[in-house]
């Protein structure tokens, strides 16, 4: 960032954009190959792919959107953190509620059976 005469540093250079781009391509291809070759068992594969997506999110936030590289009060980062909180509540909350909604459509006897099965309880 030596040649930045502008007031606002952290806007990137050809080098930082190229680095972000190449890393993103590698992460995309990595996730694709893992799925195409069924590298792991299904459960691990899901974690691996989501992990790669989150890694790419961070790479692009830093190298393309320059998040956290702004000066002093960092309001962008504050708003981003709040949005992220809302997103997590929305997505995890929806999945959690909807995956457990079956119980309210059942008779008490069915509910007992389902809970015993879901929680792995051996009567």
């Amino acid at each position: 960032m030596s040649n930045m005469t502008h007031e606002d540093t952290g806007r990137g250079t050809i080098l930082s954009y190229s680095l972000g781009f190449l890393t993103s391509v590698e992460l995309t291809l990595g996730a694709y190959l893992l799925v195409a070759h069924h590298a792991f068992s299904s459960g691990r594969l899901i974690f691996a792919i989501i992990g790669l997506a989150i890694a790419q999110l961070l790479v692009q936030l830093v190298f393309f959107l320059h998040l956290g590289r702004e000066s002093k009060p960092r309001w962008n980062l504050v708003v981003f953190s709040f949005a992220l909180t809302v997103v997590l509540i929305l997505v995890i909350g929806s999945l959690w509620i909807m995956n457990h909604l079956d119980y309210s459509h059942m008779t008490p006897a069915q509910t007992d059976t389902s809970i015993i099965k879901d929680e792995g309880i051996n009567p």
Binding site: H6, E7, D8, R11, G12, T13, I14, Y17, S18, G20, F21, S24, V25, T28, L29, A31, Y32, V35, A36, H38, S42, L45, I46, I49, I50, L52, A53, Q56, L57, Q60, L61, F64, L65, W75, N76, V79, F80, F82, A83, L84, V86, V87, L90, V91, G93, S94, L95, M98
Partner: protein, 192 residues
């Protein structure tokens, strides 16, 4: 208006645009949540792994990723005041965006033609809403990019143009990030 005041005003506008983007994140989050909830509700129809072609979607992903990169390079050229390079790079970004959108619409058309439209199942309704909303954003981004290129040709790279280009580039990078999650959650996880 002094130079510092002008800079202050620009960064306030850009921050306002960033706040808009963060609310757009929440819109996409609700569509992702809907998709995640409905992903197995195929109503006897085909699941994602029978409908989607991974190499095709990978190509789309790489097109959009490359366009995000050329958009960033265009911004660097814009700050240098290099009008010709800016136009060439935004031209490439625009064409990559059009290619992406074309591939997406082709996929939609194939799905609908085979009877797997949004009417088929809850899974497909949520799929078309999520991916279609992203496609709509891309369309808006392309129109905006077209308008900005005309503006650059006519008015050059003034302060106001640079401010708008900064917002446009934020928008474009943001759409690429949303696409990574569509690629991962809808297509890759759908294929496992």
């Amino acid at each position: 208006m002094s130079q510092t005041e002008a800079i202050e005003k620009d960064s306030t506008s850009i921050f306002g645009f960033w706040v808009y983007l963060m609310t757009d994140v929440v819109l996409f989050a609700s569509l992702f949540a809907t998709f995640a909830v409905l992903r197995n509700n195929t109503y006897g129809g085909p699941p994602g792994r029978e409908l989607f072609s991974l190499p095709y979607v990978l190509t789309e992903t790489l097109l959009l990723l490359t366009s995000s990169f050329t958009c960033g390079l265009a911004m660097l050229a814009a700050r240098r005041g290099d009008k010709r390079t800016v136009l060439v790079l935004f031209g490439i970004t625009f064409l990559l965006g059009v290619a992406f959108l074309g591939m997406e619409l082709t996929e939609f058309h194939h799905l609908a033609a085979e009877g797997n439209s949004w009417r088929r199942s809850g899974f497909l309704s949520s799929f078309f809403t999520l991916v279609g909303t992203h496609g709509l954003h891309i369309t808006v981004g392309l129109l905006w990019m077209g308008v900005m290129m005309v503006r650059i040709v006519r008015a050059g790279l003034g302060r106001a143009t640079l401010r708008r280009l900064t917002m446009l580039s934020l928008f474009w990078h943001f759409l690429d990030i949303i696409w990574i999650f569509i690629f991962t959650i809808v297509y890759l996880l759908g294929a496992t």
